[in-house]
């Protein structure tokens, strides 16, 4: 679908692309703007990649390409609020995994630079209606924060899932700073039986006091780093001549409260510490990977802190928790008045993002909220809601055209537009499907 326009002048190329590709009239569809109620038999006029008009009576102005969508539904493209897509190809082949960098503090690193636009995962994820992703530079552990990686692993970038180069994919270079809150890590032996099998584990045991000391040392490291960054910020503001330091330089927008700090904290204890730290340092934060907020949920709501939830397809953290604890967590967050979005925190399973939201909807989350959590809420949390996240006049045309509810597993995404440009929905999966369907 993508036409490679060979042109000497990039300006000309852009003009050509614009002329033939990102202006069209999509008509006779049911439009779900997300920001408002659905509109039956509506049309959407897209001019130069932006939504010019929506309504039941939209007249095409002059010669414009018509996209017929009778009986189909139009939704905003979905946003995955955290995934290392493009940074990791095959988990078990180390050379293909580019997440996580050595060292505790790497705020100067930007995820998008390292993204491989040709990753086989991108078309697969795209095919399920996901148009953009917050690409996270650090490892995102299974709900426990990036325990194995850095404390501050770098800047997470918002990117479109289509483009020849990372520059073409870029939405926001530095949407957030990724940080993991240190965890008090104690290997937990469940009853005597496990230990009977593996007494060797006993040798590796740490007492709670030791584990807590280790954690406090890590927290102190974070505090020291922020203090040093603040001194740098002050010195720079006062016009003193200082040795430039990329790490502290990268921290300035965070310290100014302009760039959100995305803190991974799963359990109540870490969440409370992270909230207190953010309040002391007057930071703008987003909590990520929240699993068991407990009573801290009220605090999260009171302080208006947005949350990024990981996959709902997990077992509870604690043995005695109800089986549906991970399924109902989004509903509980919603009831408490917390704004949240979903993230896959994975590569190949990023395609399941809509079904994470669907699972939450099946367990008490109102449907509209479920849909928002993968579209408008995400755009609001990352500060791009003036351009993305819903179907509204003036926003970019990141659209998906489906034959039904996109959170439903059986629904097919028929068309996709990123900034008004049609996107190829072929992927390795569809290629293999065709190949083996045609097998004699």
């Amino acid at each position: 679908m993508r036409t490679a326009t060979i042109a000497c002048l990039p300006v000309l190329a852009a003009a050509l692309m614009a002329a033939e590709n990102n202006t069209f009239l999509l008509r006779n569809a049911t439009v779900h703007p997300v920001s408002g109620p659905a509109i039956q038999n509506a049309s959407i006029l897209v001019v130069d990649g932006k939504i010019a008009e929506i309504g039941q009576k939209v007249a095409p102005k002059g010669k414009v390409r018509i996209v017929e969508a009778r009986g189909l539904h139009v939704y905003p493209g979905m946003i995955d609020s955290g995934s290392p897509i493009g940074l990791a190809e095959i988990a078990s082949v180390r050379e293909t995994v580019d997440t996580g960098e050595i060292g505790d503090f790497n705020p100067q690193l930007r995820a998008l630079i390292a993204v491989n636009p040709s990753s086989e995962h991108i078309p697969v994820v795209r095919a399920n209606g996901i148009t953009s992703v917050l690409v996270t530079p650090g490892a995102t552990g299974g709900g426990r924060g990036a325990s194995a990686g850095s404390l501050i692993s770098g800047q997470a970038s918002l990117m479109h899932l289509d483009g020849w180069t990372w520059e073409e994919m870029e939405i926001r270079r530095s949407a957030a700073m990724q940080m993991a809150w240190p965890v008090i890590q104690m290997p937990r032996f469940r009853g005597a039986d496990i230990e009977a099998l593996l007494p060797g584990l006993a040798g590796r045991r740490t007492t709670f006091a030791e584990a807590r000391r280790n954690q406090q040392q890590q927290v102190q490291k974070i505090q020291d780093f922020f203090d040093a960054a603040r001194r740098y910020q002050k010195a720079k503001a006062s016009g003193e001549s200082i040795q430039p330091d990329l790490r502290y330089e990268a921290m300035i927008p965070v310290l100014e409260g302009k760039q959100p700090l995305m803190i991974f904290a799963a359990r109540e204890r870490e969440i409370r510490e992270a909230l207190d730290f953010a309040a002391r340092e007057r930071l703008k934060i987003v909590l990520a990977g929240v699993r068991r907020p407990g009573k801290a949920l009220e605090d999260i709501a009171k302080r208006n802190i947005p949350v990024v939830l990981g996959t709902t397809f997990v077992s509870p953290l604690e043995e005695d928790d109800p089986y549906d604890e991970p399924f109902t967590l989004p509903a509980r967050l919603h009831q408490a008045g917390v704004k949240f979005a979903f993230a896959s925190f994975g590569v190949q399973f990023a395609r399941n993002l809509p079904y994470q939201a669907a699972q939450a909807a099946a367990f008490g989350l109102p449907y509209d909220e479920a849909l928002k959590s993968v579209t408008l809420n995400a755009a609001q949390i990352w500060g791009i809601d003036s351009e993305y996240g819903s179907i509204e006049k003036g926003k970019y045309a990141d659209l998906i055209v489906t034959d039904g509810d996109p959170l439903e597993v059986r629904t097919q995404v028929k068309m996709m537009f990123i900034k008004g440009v049609p996107v190829d929905l072929e992927s390795k999966h569809t290629r293999l499907y065709k190949m083996y369907s045609a097998r004699p």
Binding site: G191, A192, E195, G203, R204, F208, A209
Partner: protein, 458 residues
């Protein structure tokens, strides 16, 4: 000439023979414990009676016993005489290096460096490397009188222990030892109590690294041993034509095993071990069994004896205060002390191990908890004495107060399981031992003492 020579020879022989009998039958030592309450375990309690000891062996027990004039009389008024207690799975008497590693189901924090595993640094690739195998090691060759824990054990009323080496996964042969004597050799009552096996896939590098692998390795080892025995027999029948099999100490050690001790902390592991014992065609004794309350019926069905670990699970002293404990854990913790009752009611032979407990005395306290939860006192006492002797095949010499048995006795000023009761003295092989001052920290305590820093005490 010749006559003289013969006469001299005859005289010499006579003297020699006399010396031997004299050596075997020196002066007879009699000791009598008089007017005491006697609990013989194998029979009814004698409210007021006498135990007569002749050269370290019980000569007579009863309400009326004729005491020789030369006997040393112990006034037993107000005292109760019990058979010496037996720790059925222990490391007492072994040098600290030879015993390492926590027992099955004992929640201990033992640094791995405590293992004498320097020779194990090479990676093991398969059964041929005999990983973690020390089947030629015998506790009987290693016991020492200098072990400070012996005194501690005697203070608590223990006179006997079945002590096992601990290293790797085939640790070696245990020995039934008395906890006193003039020389280390005096201690050994039976040098072949059984071969101790552990499922410890992380004690060394390489194969086997999972419980399944460990069990497969055990099977292989036994198959190899059977093959070795056949090869030796063939060679013995025809040493001219049959090549001489290479001597293999690991297999020799396996062939000499009367029984195997296998870890069974929970029902699943028990099933695995019962199957393994059947595969090895060797009588098994299971140890651990903290969840014996779930395992009693099955153990009865298979007739397998159990050495119960009475270190009842408890919340770790160094646990995370915010950790929510699961119902399962709380249930196990609550029901573990009922295991002895369940085993007794089912008619399972069970004895007791001090493994993982801070002091030998704690064994009695742990059993007292079970008594408070319905265990009969006589059942608890039998497990500590006669049943343990039966399991290890030494009940003809130990475990009760009857004529002909080794004079291992405990004299206490009250019921053994009452906390206020004091052990006044013990007899081991008829020799009296008085209580010793308690060491502040028992070296037998497995694992580190929790480090109580200031911040923890707040």
């Amino acid at each position: 000439m010749r006559k003289n020579l013969l006469a001299a020879l005859a005289a010499a022989l006579l003297i020699f023979a006399f010396l031997i009998t004299a050596a075997l039958a020196e002066t007879v030592h009699w000791t009598a414990i008089r007017d005491a309450r006697i609990v013989p375990v194998n029979g009814p309690v004698i409210e007021k009676g006498t135990v007569l000891i002749r050269n370290g062996v019980i000569a007579a027990v009863g309400a009326k016993v004729d005491v020789p004039a030369s006997a040393w009389i112990i006034e037993g008024n107000g005292l109760t005489v019990y058979p010496g207690l037996i720790d059925a799975l222990s490391t007492w008497g072994l040098p600290q290096a030879a015993q390492a590693q926590p027992a099955a189901a004992a929640r201990t924090a033992q640094p791995q460096q405590a293992q004498p595993q320097q020779q194990q640094q090479t990676r093991s690739w398969g059964p041929r490397d005999r990983p973690g195998t020390f089947s030629w090691v015998r506790a009987a060759d290693q016991v020492q009188l200098s072990d400070a824990r012996l005194g501690q054990a005697r203070n608590a009323g223990f006179t006997t222990a079945v002590t096992f080496p601990r290293q790797g996964i085939v640790a070696g042969h245990g020995a039934v030892i008395n906890l006193g004597g003039k020389t280390a050799g005096d201690m050994v009552v039976a040098p072949d109590a059984g071969l101790y096996l552990a499922l410890r896939p992380s004690g060394y590098i390489g194969f086997p690294s999972t419980p399944m692998g460990v069990m497969a390795y055990f099977r292989q080892l036994w198959l190899d041993a059977a093959h070795y025995r056949e090869a030796l027999a063939l060679y013995a029948a025809d040493p001219v034509n049959i090549p001489r099999p290479a001597y293999d100490r690991a297999l020799e050690g396996v062939l000499g095993a009367k029984r195997v001790l296998l870890p069974a902390a929970d029902p699943v592991q028990m099933e695995r071990m019962l199957q393994l014992a059947a595969d090895l065609k060797t009588p098994a004794v299971l140890y651990g069994a903290v969840r014996g309350y779930e395992m009693a019926a099955r153990l009865k069905q298979t007739g397998t004896p159990v050495i119960l670990n009475v270190r009842w699970p408890a919340r770790d002293r160094d646990a995370d205060p915010e950790e929510e404990e699961s119902f399962r854990e709380l249930k196990i913790r609550d029901l573990a002390p009922t295991s002895p009752t369940a085993l007794s009611q089912a008619g399972v032979k069970w004895a007791v191990s001090s493994e993982g407990l801070e002091t030998p005395r704690a064994v009695l306290r742990a059993l007292k908890q079970s008594i408070d939860r319905g265990l009969k006192r006589e059942d608890a006492l039998r497990a500590l004495t006669l049943t343990a002797a039966e399991i290890y095949g030494v009940a003809d010499r130990l475990g009760s107060i009857e004529r002909g048995k080794i004079a291992n006795l405990v004299l206490a000023d009250g019921d053994l399981f009452n906390d206020s009761t004091r052990i006044r003295m013990v007899f081991i092989d008829g020799v009296r031992y008085l209580p010793e001052p308690e060491a502040p920290q028992a070296p037998g305590a497995a694992g580190r003492a929790p480090s109580l820093s200031e911040e923890e005490e707040q």
